[in-house]
Subunit: 419 residues, 4 copies
Amino acid sequence: MMEVISLRREFHKHPELGFTEFWTASKVVEILESLNYKVLYGRDVIDEQSRRGVPTQNILDEAFSRASQHGANQTILERMTGGNTAVVGVLEGKRKGPTVAFRFDMDALPIQESTNAEHFPFSLGFNSKFNGNMHACAHDGHTAMGLALAERLANRDFCGTLKLIFQPAEEGGRGAYAMTQKGVVDDVDFIFCSHLGLDLPLGEVHGGNSTFLASSKLEVEFHGVPSHAGGTPEKGCNALLGAATALLNIHALPRFSGGITRVNVGILKGGTAANIIPQQASMVVEVRSDKADICDELLNRVYKIIKHSAEMHGLTYETKIIGGSTTIQPDPELVSIVLQEAKKINGFTTFKEDSDVSVGSEDASFFINRVQELGGKGTYMNIGSPLPAPHHHHEFDIDENVLPLAVNLLENIARRMLS
Amino acid sequence: MMEVISLRREFHKHPELGFTEFWTASKVVEILESLNYKVLYGRDVIDEQSRRGVPTQNILDEAFSRASQHGANQTILERMTGGNTAVVGVLEGKRKGPTVAFRFDMDALPIQESTNAEHFPFSLGFNSKFNGNMHACAHDGHTAMGLALAERLANRDFCGTLKLIFQPAEEGGRGAYAMTQKGVVDDVDFIFCSHLGLDLPLGEVHGGNSTFLASSKLEVEFHGVPSHAGGTPEKGCNALLGAATALLNIHALPRFSGGITRVNVGILKGGTAANIIPQQASMVVEVRSDKADICDELLNRVYKIIKHSAEMHGLTYETKIIGGSTTIQPDPELVSIVLQEAKKINGFTTFKEDSDVSVGSEDASFFINRVQELGGKGTYMNIGSPLPAPHHHHEFDIDENVLPLAVNLLENIARRMLS
Amino acid sequence: MMEVISLRREFHKHPELGFTEFWTASKVVEILESLNYKVLYGRDVIDEQSRRGVPTQNILDEAFSRASQHGANQTILERMTGGNTAVVGVLEGKRKGPTVAFRFDMDALPIQESTNAEHFPFSLGFNSKFNGNMHACAHDGHTAMGLALAERLANRDFCGTLKLIFQPAEEGGRGAYAMTQKGVVDDVDFIFCSHLGLDLPLGEVHGGNSTFLASSKLEVEFHGVPSHAGGTPEKGCNALLGAATALLNIHALPRFSGGITRVNVGILKGGTAANIIPQQASMVVEVRSDKADICDELLNRVYKIIKHSAEMHGLTYETKIIGGSTTIQPDPELVSIVLQEAKKINGFTTFKEDSDVSVGSEDASFFINRVQELGGKGTYMNIGSPLPAPHHHHEFDIDENVLPLAVNLLENIARRMLS
Amino acid sequence: MMEVISLRREFHKHPELGFTEFWTASKVVEILESLNYKVLYGRDVIDEQSRRGVPTQNILDEAFSRASQHGANQTILERMTGGNTAVVGVLEGKRKGPTVAFRFDMDALPIQESTNAEHFPFSLGFNSKFNGNMHACAHDGHTAMGLALAERLANRDFCGTLKLIFQPAEEGGRGAYAMTQKGVVDDVDFIFCSHLGLDLPLGEVHGGNSTFLASSKLEVEFHGVPSHAGGTPEKGCNALLGAATALLNIHALPRFSGGITRVNVGILKGGTAANIIPQQASMVVEVRSDKADICDELLNRVYKIIKHSAEMHGLTYETKIIGGSTTIQPDPELVSIVLQEAKKINGFTTFKEDSDVSVGSEDASFFINRVQELGGKGTYMNIGSPLPAPHHHHEFDIDENVLPLAVNLLENIARRMLS
């Protein structure tokens, strides 16, 4: 039998950034295949063009080689070229029934892991072998849970279809959307997504989480005309003047009476030399709201500001969505089922219907919204673990005792939904 | 015989702002008619729609009544309603010849004249009777010179046609353009314009003046959507955000390598209350250059900034040219003639081809450019007078000794050109 | 016996803006004195220097004369010069007990009242006699209620002290603060404030209202150096560049995670002419939050932006608070008493602990906060009336049937608190 | 005898950027020493701390190694560590007399040289061996001229002292200032600086060049406080808001009536991620004027804008001058001598007192100004050569026939000044 904690440690050692989860995804494929799941992966389960914020070819190539050198299965790898690292395992039960999906995210973060003696993964020697990357958001645990769940149900003693979704590039909200565009959840009746940690006490579970903000991340390129700033300044079209005008006006977007708003121009870069009218500038913008329609409206207004800031200075421009997510409205029926099943498990002690901690944005929202749009139901659970350091911190870690608890919970839910 | 100094004092007593020169223009008409000139005035010599910066009807009405109360000829006045206060006197010589024009401006400034005992017009009692207005730029002298010249040539002992142009609203560059649009100088072969003062020594004359900057003055109205700033800020379209963005970007227009540039947003007004998203804003912009094409290009860029600053914030807008002028390139042939004739007159002692003092902008430029465009020639002379205080100062005055000198010079020029 | 509806109509006919309530306040004084209240008014109950947004002397003088011409008591008026139109009526009960205050606001709005036949005050002939002003926020009703309450308790058959506060200049948040600065509520144990209308059904009462936003309104004057924009632009210090920079950066202040924020630059005016570098600009800024400390922090940041926008351009500046208010946390004990007493009154049918409609900001907050700060308790009630048009609309009106209901409620509360 | 054309080709092959002229400077030292000049170099002739825009240690180290590998004298190199690549050769004449200096700049540009068959240096095989660098501004020729001149005067048959200044880092205006700070020209009576090329016809010489703009280049670092843009935006201090405000206001600096102005924010970079309030931003600013005092005043105003844009947003900041130059007023006496000597040389055909082409900025200005400040005289000559492509272009080249002509001219001048 697979041991979820050992698995988690294997994944922890091999942290890979979004769309470069070559090692991770190929391990997932191998294990699912060994359990006789029907395994779809690569371009079969992700719409290549709909992916957001895909790394450069160089970065993809390096990660690909690294995975290969670290023992990833070459045949599997070949079907994931270009960063198409999504995996879906499907298992038909012995009897007919609904399709029930669980979703797990696989990507890590560009953080140098702590080598402090008190950092548990380091002291036990399962810290990151991929320098500069780190599983600092529990996705290693998520992936391990998914595989452990796969094993528990592998005997097919259930009614309906089990669908295990292993998603790349959750960080930045970049992978889920492209999988929904490929129709991965179009046949799903019920979907369960979850997150470990959140610095909740061990044993606390939230049946739903409605606190996620919708978000959009936008990359903008402004193109102007360079000119010598001393010689012929009037012949230039100044990309930084356009960008600075956009930046100020984006931050000056109004508050909305209908919900929370957030705007940020997180990055601005432009120009080449003191004496050249800047020809080019790039900008990264983020908007958020607790209401999906307000987030959309903010994005529309950002587009308008960019367009006119550019044209005011004779610039052309391009925009590209590089990430995003939407809000989640958990279905009360599933929230209730999660809590009922959790109560049956020794070790869970605190039960809440909704989250009382906010964790920002989550692109599982695209899966849940798509399922609900087609008449199904979904929820997003928080499964508590205390933390020595916050999410995305270089000393982040989970209490591994949460892992078997979480697998038990998912198994209970799966068996109930597929009974 | 008319006395130029007495005339000047009469005009000094009755200073009228641009397009309200009802008293002044009607006196000019009366005198020219008494000298048997053919006198065209009102809508016959100015294109009503092309006038810029016309005062409100209230202001026009008040000035009209004031002129009437101060003895202006009612019949003449009636043909100047609406502020059409332009006058042209034409006299055919006894023999055929070219058409030679002289131009005089008639308007005063919104300045409260000094009542300091040392202010000469006050001490002699010919200070402004029209409270709040003042002839502080010598146009009273110009108008008087024009009428004195009219008398000198009244016997028609010359070849060709003499055309005396009395222009309203030179200040702000508002009257000349509309007169050229009516074709007032389309038949002119030679045109002479001039200015008294400039704090040059008495006896100094400049045959040309190429130092004027082209300028355009623009009024902008931004229209947005008001909304309660606390209740529903997102429903507003904020006219002041658009205007402030335009203001900063207009001032940030590039320097030009080909010439001098100037930009200014001289006035900005918008909004109604602390708690209302501003629905409306108005702005007055000015651009200048020593090159007419750079001035045009600056104006184009201002239009572009206004358009996109407005549309960025969902505003509509209107723009209106409220004043302007262009550059002057005096014809060397006329410059030379001016200096030759000045040298014949006792009292002129210093002779320069071009101005070495800059006096900003001048809409006589439209007359001169139009004449040159149609194949004629023109120049703009400086006729020096020392000043107790600068132009546009409430203690401005000229040395009246310049007046007979200037009339002699204009007569000489007229006789030479019409010989 | 005084009739509350007749009284309301009298006040409706004589609407006076903040700090010009000479007619209204003198009537209040007269009636309270006739009921044998101890009446304090003028500078005795308001700190003259702490008042915000006081009108100019001209406006005060005109309103003063108007009140006099409409029959206001001259002796009383003389003690209200300078716009010190606050009134407090105090009545000692026959026995000892707590001090219980009720607060009523008296000012009207600069709105031209409708003369539409369907506008009830017009059709009954009690529409505004003070052209341009209108009671469009129910303060006429509030003042009438206060006087009716005064009569009900006039026999002194209670324990403790009744304090009736008639406040000027609630609109814009300008009067209450200066009364608290004079110590008007420093001896108060319980304070009840209320508002009629809100388009709630007749019979609905809210025992508390915690929805008010804290707000501050700020006036800013920027002083620069003028200069000719063509001649010597570099000698100017451009007040509009400073103001536009401040405006953009104020709107770009961050959202706060701890509460709602609002920012608005509602008015900006500066400059005098197209060709003058603007010497002066004035600005009106408003900030709001549902948390008083966030509102304070926003104001601090606005000050910082103004300071540095000014100094960046060599400007000096002055700021002045012209209005404001804070949040209200009703005491649950009083909320409960209000609802208990309302339930005893025939006509009240719907009872809520807190408001479910937001009416912006309220400077009664200063009274309530001061009482609570000194250990007392307070609440703010909504007393529902349907409305033909929203608050501050020129066809606003209340259903007068609410008035006797409201007086009954206040009487019940007063008797209970003073029993 | 050294051949100036061969020397120029050697230097052309080894182009080195400012402060990395290790190969070039060490060759200069070797040759001057071989001619029995007293050679001062390294920290003896440049004030290390006053240098501007010094490359990083990495870049210095790489260039140092490269020079070493290409045969530079290791002993000499060791005295130039840290990029102290300045050289001064001094030769005492046989008799007493004035000190006469000539200045030559040695640095190349970060341009990939053309490998087009028609590019003369490439077709003859003396193109750049230092990949990515190129002598595209004739400094290779200048250095060769300096050494050829050294040889011509090596017999010491003159009165006074000859001082040959070989300056690093002229591009960007970074080297000359630090040499003047070390006092290198404090004993100089006459200084001659020159430039080859300018696309003037071969044989044209300008005795002076007064067209250089004063310039200052400034690097700014803004330091704020990062914060999660979704979670707690109010806890951040946004470095990009400060930088964008500075950028717009710097571009909005006024035109000056007293001279030409230029302003440019050439580079702006800040922020790290879409969801982080930007903690840091850096900016490169350039100002220029044809009047040194206006350039200083522009720089003062830029400092003021930076200070207040930073403090407005709670940022700290640092500024550093990374380059600059000032204006040059050639002494008429030296201009005249240059032209007289040129006329004696067969090959020079066109003689002008001042430049009629503008070549931007030149930090030889610091040498000339310092000499003049101490009572000496100086000039800057243009020595014409037609060009196949403009200065700083990857196909730039000079007509090598100018080199012997130029050496003859410098020799004539030296002999005359030292006679």
